[in-house]
């Protein structure tokens, strides 16, 4: 029952402590993690956006440079000059030397026929009039195409421009080296899974993907999702993986440069941070739990001990109250009995006196009278001892202080019992500390106390055994122990031995007052008495007396 209360209390304290420790700790970690995630994500987005912007600028520059050199050539040279194969070849070389990135160069007249061509394909004399780009060049003057197959049946894109020379219109057309362009685009890709590619307005791939994906095939991205400037968005791919995209329109909004990145790959560092944070929080929680448990455990044990001590003290108080009440009662009873007992004693004595006279001695039953009177006296004496014992108990006498050498009192008291002990084969051993201080105490009362304890020890043994008498100083007390190897006091009696009239001796052998008187005497001297007994092993009574230094006379 008691244990249950402490266990409940312990649980409550642990619960509350953990609650008030965990709530701030966990909320703080969640908030920090959330903030950190936000910052980290913003950083990733900024990075990818930055790359998209920088790379789109680079691509725009690439295209503009190539367009510019083509324009310069067209402005510098005439149709007839360019129509000569070796001259066109020379110009192609210059162009590749200056900026590079061209695959071929062709001159086309207004009917769409290719007049001159420098490049790896055999495209001379082919007519482009019906090609979609031809119309675009005619209407716009300068045109950069989307990727298409054309006559060569290889995906490519071209830069073409139209010139008016006198009455003749002609077109100078160059094909961009896909490898060079691809590598330029690819420069924007990062990480193990990142990609960079271009799609046109219709969503067809204009460059190769890093991991498969045919040029001109349809992308799963919807270009209309991306607006002006650089757009960053997250989208799940067909496997459900979250991909972060940054895209920017190029080439007058006809191409879209897309940089993609696996969000989880980029977040790996964040996840690592998250794991570290979880470990730290978990360790923190564990430490809080352990500390809380041990601290609470310790506190509760202390509390339990303190409570127990208070209870023991209370029990002792109740015990002394009980003893005091019994003492008062005993005194009251004694008063009422003493006077009649005195009359009986005197009347008996008077009858004995009379029996000594001659007349009676001749009486037939003289011996019987004498014996009966003796018996009456014997029992009056027995009653007298009880009553006087009770009054001794009731006595709350201020001790009469004198200089007392405890060892001397012990030795003297022992001598009273020596012959009795010897006849019963009881050895009384003494182990007295030699330089005990002389204390101010009541010699007669001390002698009474020691006599009671020694008598009890000897009586407890009966025959054959030993009594061990010790005295020693412990701090500000002198402890006197009387140990016997008698049968011991049963546990259930131990708390009652100091009660008046409590005796385990045979009826008539003990009054049950010895120890209660002893208790009272020791208390009145400011000392304590306690017992330690084990059945079958013996009993030790220990009296502790304060060392009261005698006043200097």
């Amino acid at each position: 029952m008691k244990r249950q209360i402490y266990a409940n209390l312990q649980r409550k304290i642990i619960f509350i402590t953990l609650l008030v420790s965990f709530i701030p700790l966990i909320s703080l970690s969640v908030i920090i993690y959330y903030q950190f995630t936000q910052v980290f994500r913003n950083k990733i987005e900024e990075q990818i956006e930055y790359r998209a912007r920088v790379q789109s600028n680079a691509i725009e520059l690439f295209l503009k440079e190539r367009t510019a050199i083509l324009l310069a050539m067209a402005d510098t040279y005439t149709f007839d000059y360019l129509a000569e194969k070796n001259k066109l070849e020379r110009i192609f070389q210059i162009m590749n030397h200056r900026v590079g990135g061209f695959i071929d160069l062709g001159l086309i007249d207004s009917t769409g026929r290719q007049i001159a061509y420098v490049g790896p394909y055999n495209l001379i004399s082919l007519n482009y009039y019906s090609q979609p780009w031809f119309r675009e060049v005619e209407s716009k003057g300068v045109y950069i195409s989307d990727v298409f197959l054309g006559y060569r049946q290889v995906p490519h894109f071209i830069i073409a421009l139209q010139r008016q020379e006198n009455n003749r219109r002609w077109i100078l057309r160059a094909t961009i080296d896909s490898d060079v362009f691809e590598s330029l685009v690819r420069a924007a890709q990062v990480g193990k899974t990142g990609d960079a590619f271009i799609i046109n307005k219709e969503g067809s791939y204009q460059t190769l993907l890093r991991f498969g994906g045919e040029i001109l095939s349809k992308s799963h991205l919807d270009p209309t999702l991306f607006g002006e400037g650089t757009t960053v968005l997250e989208k799940a791919d067909k496997d459900g993986k979250k991909i972060l995209y940054a895209a920017r329109w190029l080439k007058k909004n006809s191409w879209l440069l897309v940089i993609s990145q696996d969000a989880s790959e980029e977040m790996t560092k964040l996840f690592k941070t998250k794991r570290i944070e979880i470990v730290i929080v978990a360790l923190g929680c564990l430490m809080i739990i352990l500390t809380t448990y041990f601290t609470t455990h310790l506190t509760i044990r202390r509390l339990e001990t303190a409570d127990r001590e208070v209870n023991e003290l209370n029990a002792q108080l109740v015990h002394s109250d009980k003893l005091a009440a019994l003492g008062k009662m005993a005194a009251g009873v004694a008063h009422e009995i003493n006077n009649p007992l005195a009359v009986i004693a005197e009347k008996t004595g008077w009858m004995e006196d009379l029996l000594t006279e001659e007349d009676f001695q001749k009486s037939q039953h003289f011996a019987e009278y004498k014996k009966s009177l003796g018996k009456i006296e014997e029992h009056v004496e027995r009653a007298r001892k009880v009553i006087h014992g009770m009054l001794g108990f009731a006595r709350r006498m201020e001790p009469h202080l004198e200089d007392v050498d405890i060892n001397e009192v012990l030795t003297q008291t022992m001598s009273f019992l020596e012959s009795y002990a010897r006849t019963n084969n009881i050895v009384i051993e003494k182990e007295l500390e030699t330089d005990l201080p002389i204390i101010a105490s009541d010699r007669a009362q001390l002698q009474q106390v020691f006599l009671n304890l020694l008598t009890n020890a000897v009586d407890a043994i009966g025959k054959d055994g030993n009594v061990h008498l010790t005295s020693r100083r412990i701090d500000s007390e002198i402890a006197i122990s009387v140990r016997d190897n008698g049968p011991g006091i049963p546990k259930e009696y131990q708390s009652r031995v100091f009660e008046p009239f409590f005796t385990t001796k045979q009826s008539g052998k003990g009054t049950g007052l010895g120890l209660s008187v002893t208790y009272t005497l020791v208390s009145s001297m400011g000392g304590t008495i306690d017992l330690d007994s084990e059945e079958g092993k013996g009993t030790t009574f220990t009296v502790r007396l304060p060392v009261v230094v005698p006043e200097k006379k």
């Binding site: 005194a331 004694a334 008063h335 003493n338 006077n339 007992l341 005195a342 009359v343 009986i344 004693a345 005197e346 009347k347 004595g349 008077w350 006196d353 009056v380 004496e381 007298r384 006087h388 009054l391 009731a394 006595r395 709350r396 006498m397």
Partner: protein, 139 residues
């Protein structure tokens, strides 16, 4: 044994009568009175060597009061207090007021006799000293 005079004061007449008889039987000139008042009036006319005085806590003239009165009338008379009540305050008070001793009822007769003789001896010794002092003064 020389005969000496003892006054016994006790309201328990059975006790009083018996103790007087027993003392008389032992050649002690014992007189019994049942109250302190009577004891005092008797002592104004007769000398006693020792008074055996029963003191009580309740009622009547307080035992200690009687003791003091006795000591006023006959200062050299020794008083032994005898009581059924064990009150340490009373006994201490008695001893302070000049009682010779304090006995608790029931008392062993032999012990009582011894105390009476001791008290008598003390009185004698006291008187002897007085006489010696007196003689010294005369010479």
């Amino acid at each position: 044994m020389e005969t000496f005079r003892v006054l016994i004061v006790d309201d328990e007449t059975d006790f009083l009568e018996t103790i007087v008889n027993r003392l008389l039987k032992r050649n002690i000139d014992a007189t019994g009175v049942p109250s302190g008042e009577k004891a005092l009036s008797l002592m104004k006319e007769n000398n006693f060597d020792v008074v055996l005085l029963d003191i009580k806590m309740p009622g009547g003239m307080d035992g200690i009061e009687i003791l003091r009165e006795i000591k006023k009338i006959q200062p050299s008379t020794e008083v032994i207090l005898l009581t059924g009540h064990a009150s340490i305050e009373t006994s201490m008070e008695g001893m302070k007021s000049g009682a010779f001793d304090y006995l608790l009822k029931p008392v062993k007769f032999a012990e009582l006799l011894e105390k009476l003789l001791a008290a008598f001896d003390k009185k004698n010794a006291h008187l002897e000293k007085l006489i010696a002092a007196f003689e010294k003064n005369i010479t």
